[in-house]
């Protein structure tokens, strides 16, 4: 594919000399009388279009189809020629629409039959056409700027479609010579100019049109190379609908279009609203939409050879619309369409149906065998596209299930949480440019990736890997800590969350710690809290560099979280209360059942895991009594083991690890003033806030999850 092929620039040169005012001699009845009023009234005489009217409406139709299918990068420059050249628009994208052209044509008006034919010539227009082809388009400019030293790769080619009434074959030759010479001259000029480009290739399409019933004075000639830069072809066409047909064929050739006819469209009859008949609508689109027909060898469907007649169309049957998006999975391309007969009732019924948001599946007509859906019509944002659905045997046939692959047997993924994560990270267009503080342009997509980075710094994938994300009480903190910056209110909320957790710990509320993979009752309550605090700390630490306020949240957390010595004390107390503990353990179970955790199967879960990442290691679910899993590689350097729990019988890997982390962490921050001044390791903190907090009913655990 080439962006700057001949079809990037099309110049229409339409003859506006006096003879173009002549009638095309094809009559149009416009006074169609309604039956019951016809008595005694003679219809008005039919009228006929001039050669000019035929030329203009055919070229407008060419442009309409082109703009429908290529709204960008395919440009038209319209020139009208009489005693001089009138250039009606420019190459800029804003000038590229039918309304602009129609308004400009109306300003020109029909040719004046009384003007002096000696002063008028199509040559003025052809010279202007060459001139305009040398002018750079905004796309060419952009590409050249982008390519820098490779700017010469940007081609400058174009096509001149000239509609005129020539005198003879030698007249045609004279026109060709003139174009040839003009290109030569202008290329010389362009060579010395920065804002002009030399024409590398120009395709001249000369259309001689004459009134119906007259003999043509000019003979057809297929494409011929006149010079390395110029090729020319001559079409001798009768005016009226013949001219329109010719331009319809040309637009298909020039822009690689193909035709599809939708057949069997059910439509209510205008006269009898309760009956419906079947109609056909012909659409044009890029020929790639038919590529599958070539592949399956249905050459009778495929429109024959490339140079073949363009009358051919592929017929596809309308299927009663369904709203099943599955078909789109097999979509291999979407191509803009343009109806051939845009204003006919069947066409506008079909297009309105589609513009209203409905889709139509299209079926290949077959005499026998199963139904094959090969295309779908659907609109997006006011534009209709023909979607190609892969109908032949798919390479995607019989794909393996994801459950057979890596991670396929894990059953407790945080599916709902990640769904929520995806919804928070959805994209939306930012059409106005935004700037960073340093004045550079901000790319919205980069912002989106940035946010993904922040939101995933600590994101355990499975339920049994996390405690905090299973607790409703942590949500206020977890949802704001990932933000780029925090407000004072956010900080306050985070602190409240932390105090709330402290409160829960004091009241010995149960935690939703996973018991998967553990034998017996799982970790003791105080250990559960240590796991929770560790995980929360990991989450907050992942964000401390975002801002100073994030730092403050961590400070609060470090100050409030339970400290190992204190825990030891409580552990002793805890052992004395073992009976009590058992009861509450039951409570945990009940509570767990109540919760609609995503996967009821999660308990079948993970027995052994080969690898465990750091986050996981921090919250290993093993109790001190559970045996070491066979495959587990020790992640901890044993020589760094802190001395704290030496005498306490079997030490779990977890406690070793968390102690190590705690020791390491305690080196990273200044000792909290409260702790330094504490009595018996106890200090009253943030008294005022605690009071405030005490008023609220603390939420324990996560009550319900969607």
């Amino acid at each position: 594919m080439k962006i700057f092929s001949e079809s990037h620039k099309t110049v229409f040169v339409v003859d506006h000399c006096p003879y173009m005012a002549e009638s095309c001699r094809q009559h149009v009845e416009f006074d169609m009388l309604v039956k019951n009023r016809t008595q005694g009234i003679i219809p008005l005489a039919p009228i006929s279009k001039s050669l000019w009217t035929c030329s203009v409406e055919s070229s407008m139709e060419y442009c309409r189809i082109m703009y429908d299918i290529f709204p960008f990068k395919k440009l038209v420059n319209f020139i009208v020629s009489d005693s001089g050249a009138h250039v009606l628009n420019s190459w800029t994208q804003e000038d590229q629409n039918l309304q602009e052209l129609m308004a400009a044509l109306a300003a020109v008006g029909p040719p004046n039959p009384r003007a002096d034919p000696e002063c008028c010539s199509i040559l003025h227009g052809l010279v202007a056409a060459v001139e305009t082809l040398c002018k750079i388009t905004e796309y060419q400019h952009e590409a050249r700027t982008l390519l820098m030293e490779n700017a010469e790769r940007v081609g400058n080619r174009g096509r001149i479609i000239c509609i005129t009434n020539a005198k003879s074959d030698s007249h045609v030759r004279m026109l060709e010579d003139c174009v040839q010479e003009t290109i030569h001259e202008h290329n010389k000029l362009a060579a010395n100019s920065d804002h002009l480009m030399q024409i590398q290739k120009c395709e001249l399409v000369l259309i001689h049109t004459y009134p119906v019933g007259e003999d043509s004075l000019v003979s057809d000639r297929s494409k011929k190379e006149l010079s390395p830069v110029l090729t020319s072809e001559v079409h001798s066409v009768r005016a009226g609908r013949h001219l329109a047909t010719k331009l319809n064929i040309l637009v298909q050739q020039h822009f690689d279009l193909a035709s599809t006819t939708i057949t069997n469209i059910p439509m209510k009859e205008e006269q009898h609203a309760n009956t419906s008949a079947n109609y056909d609508v012909e659409l044009l689109h890029h020929k790639d939409a038919h590529v599958d027909f070539l592949k399956s060898g249905d050459s009778h469907l495929g429109g024959g050879s490339r140079e073949g007649p363009f009358k051919e169309t592929i017929t596809l049957k309308w299927c009663t619309p369904r709203t099943n998006n599955i078909e789109l999975h097999y979509c291999t391309g979407a191509y803009r369409i343009s109806p051939v007969d845009v204003n006919s009732r069947p066409s506008s019924c079909l297009t309105n149906f589609l513009l209203n948001g409905r889709s139509v599946l299209l079926e290949q007509p077959r005499k026998s065998g199963s139904k094959v859906i090969s295309h779908m019509l659907s609109s997006h944002g006011g534009e209709i596209f023909l979607h190609v659905l892969s109908s032949s045997r798919s390479i995607l046939e019989d794909p393996p299930s994801i459950s057979e692959g890596c991670g396929g047997r894990v059953t407790d993924y945080r599916i709902t949480d990640f769904g929520e994560f995806m919804r928070e990270n959805r994209l939306t267009p930012f059409l106005d440019p935004r700037y960073k503080i340093d004045g550079s342009l901000e790319v919205p997509l980069e912002r989106a990736k940035d946010q993904l980075e922040k939101h995933t710094r600590y994101w355990p994938m499975i339920i049994s890997q996390t405690t905090i994300f299973n607790m409703q009480a942590v949500v206020p903190l977890a949802s704001v800590i990932v933000k780029e910056s925090l407000t004072e209110e956010d900080v306050l909320n985070c602190q409240k969350t932390i105090y709330n957790l402290v409160d829960m710990e004091r009241k010995n509320d149960p935690l939703p710690i996973s018991t998967v993979g553990t034998r017996g009752k799982g970790p003791k309550r105080d250990e559960q809290y240590r796991i929770m605090w560790n995980e929360l700390e990991t989450l907050v630490r992942a964000h401390i560099n975002n801002s100073e306020k994030h730092q403050r949240v961590l400070e609060c957390l470090m100050a409030c979280r339970s400290k190992p010595p204190e825990e030891e004390e409580r552990k002793k107390r805890g052992r004395k209360r073992e009976d009590k503990e058992d009861k509450s353990e039951k409570a945990v179970k009940d509570y767990e059942q109540e919760k609609s955790w995503q996967d009821s199967e999660r308990l079948k879960g993970i027995l052994e895991r080969g690898k465990e990442d750091l986050a996981e290691a921090e919250i290993i679910k093993d109790s001190p009594d559970s045996p070491e899993p066979p495959n587990k590689k020790p992640l901890v350097e044993m020589d760094e083991t802190p001395q704290v729990e030496k005498s306490k019988g079997p030490v779990s890997l977890l406690s070793l690890w968390s102690n190590r982390i705690n020791t390491a962490n305690s080196r990273k921050h200044q000792e909290f003033a409260g702790r330094l001044n504490s009595v018996n390791n106890r200090a009253e903190l943030y008294q005022h806030l605690k009071e405030e907090n005490g008023m609220e009913t603390p939420e324990n655990g996560k009550a319900s999850r969607q």
């Binding site: 008005l44 845009v342 959805r426 919205p444 980075e453």
Partner: protein
């Protein structure tokens, strides 16, 4: 891309190959060996590829239709070396590709997207290895979502893509360097069944993503390189087996016009209010194009007489329902006037003016007096426009309804 292996089984394939110090081999043995190698490679590294085997000499036969069962493919046969000479030979046919006539039905190149590898016998093992490297290396990549990552194999292999052979002749390939953008290559040397068993139990981001995409009915945009994107979604087959599927968009800044430029897609948290609505009942997509397409803007086309007749009929129908239909009458009248002026079809304006004047004379006695006023006013304005004089034939100027007042005994009638 499915593979068709086409093998030469003509007599020339039985010619001996001289390999020093070994027993005698025929060319077909070599070819069989090479293909076995290829099939073995595919069976281990390229499991999802469909392959078919066709043999030919003067006739051809489909030995094995498309299959993924490489055991059935590892049968007999062979390819050849001689391309032939003269008219009708492969060399001649390819060289004269551009001068082919209708009668010459040589099938190459195929009219659909395809790749053709021709292996000629020499050292076939070497060639098979080259072919494997060229066409059948598994595509390993890393799927990243911030810090969540997963090693993936992509099948079928994404092929390099040339956006514009002239401006940018270098084919675009998916970035395999593992930067923060999208994908990257990894050395994943784990294999064997035991590894698969363990792998099944290690949480994998792909499975999480797939599950959530499926439940939420969403797709994820994936970036494959600078200005190259695709989408990830869950695809299920009829047997309810589903997997994570990636569809590639055409490289470019704006692959799907209704999404706008990919670089302009940013996080919703940057927007003043959630563009998806608080209740998830809105969407910022699709984006509307600046200009409407012809089928959405009521353009006027009179190429077929029926187009013109319909437009005239519309005016006539409304003319008979004046004054109720005054607004639509003038709307349709102005639409016709504009098109006629643009097409230089002034005779039509005159014709329609005559028609309206006739309608005026045909008005029944019961008609509202305003009908006659509006009809003759419209006819007069059209007649003026049909003169083409700039004063009355301005494109942007519309014919406006005559201001009449029948409310009382007003004497200001015109």
């Amino acid at each position: 891309m499915p593979t068709v292996v086409v093998m030469d089984v003509s007599l020339s394939m039985t010619r001996p190959v001289s390999i020093e110090g070994s027993e005698e081999y025929q060319r077909k043995h070599l070819a069989a060996h090479g293909l076995t190698m290829l099939f073995e490679h595919m069976a281990t590294n390229y499991k999802l590829e469909f392959t078919a085997l066709v043999v030919f000499s003067s006739l051809w036969e489909l030995m094995v239709p498309f299959t993924r069962d490489y055991n059935t493919l590892q049968v007999v046969l062979v390819t050849d070396g001689c391309l032939g000479i003269g008219r009708g030979s492969l060399r001649h046919s390819l060289a004269t590709q551009n001068q082919r006539s209708e009668s010459n039905r040589f099938p190459l190149p195929f009219p659909f997207p395809s790749k053709l590898y021709i292996m000629c016998m020499a050292n076939l093992e070497e060639y098979s290895r080259k072919l494997i490297d060229l066409a059948y290396t598994p595509f390993h990549a890393v799927l990243k979502c911030g810090h969540l990552t997963a090693d993936v194999q992509v099948f079928p292999r994404p092929e390099p893509f040339v956006v514009d052979e002239e401006i940018d002749p270098i084919p675009k390939v998916i970035n395999t360097e593992g930067d923060e953008v999208g994908t990257g290559i990894t050395d994943d040397n784990e294999d064997e069944n035991s590894a698969n068993q363990i792998a099944g139990k290690i949480p994998n981001f792909c499975v999480l993503l797939h599950g959530s995409l499926k439940v939420e009915g969403m797709v994820a945009i994936v970036q494959l390189g600078p200005e190259w994107h695709g989408m990830l979604y869950s695809q299920a087959d009829s047997k309810k087996k589903s997997n994570l599927m990636m569809s590639l968009f055409e490289p470019g800044p704006e692959p799907l016009p209704w999404l706008g430029k990919m670089a302009q897609l940013g996080p919703i948290s940057d927007a003043k209010e959630n563009p998806y609505g608080e209740d998830d009942n809105k969407s910022p997509f699709p984006l509307q194009p600046k200009n409407k397409r012809s089928y959405a803007q009521n353009v006027t086309v009179w190429i077929k007489p029926s187009g013109l007749q319909t437009d005239v009929q519309k005016i006539l129908r409304n003319a008979r329902k004046l004054p109720e239909k005054t607004q639509t009458f003038y709307k349709e009248l102005n639409r016709l006037r504009k098109a006629a002026l643009a097409f230089g079809f002034l005779d039509l304006l005159k014709g329609v003016a005559d028609m309206l004047e006739r309608e005026c004379t045909l008005l029944p006695d019961t008609a509202h007096p305003d009908a006659a006023f509006q009809l003759s006013h419209a006819a007069q304005q059209l007649k003026l426009a049909s003169t083409g004089t700039s004063e009355y034939a301005a494109y942007d100027q519309n014919i406006t309804p005559l201001h009449t007042d029948f409310s009382g005994s007003s004497t200001e009638r015109i």
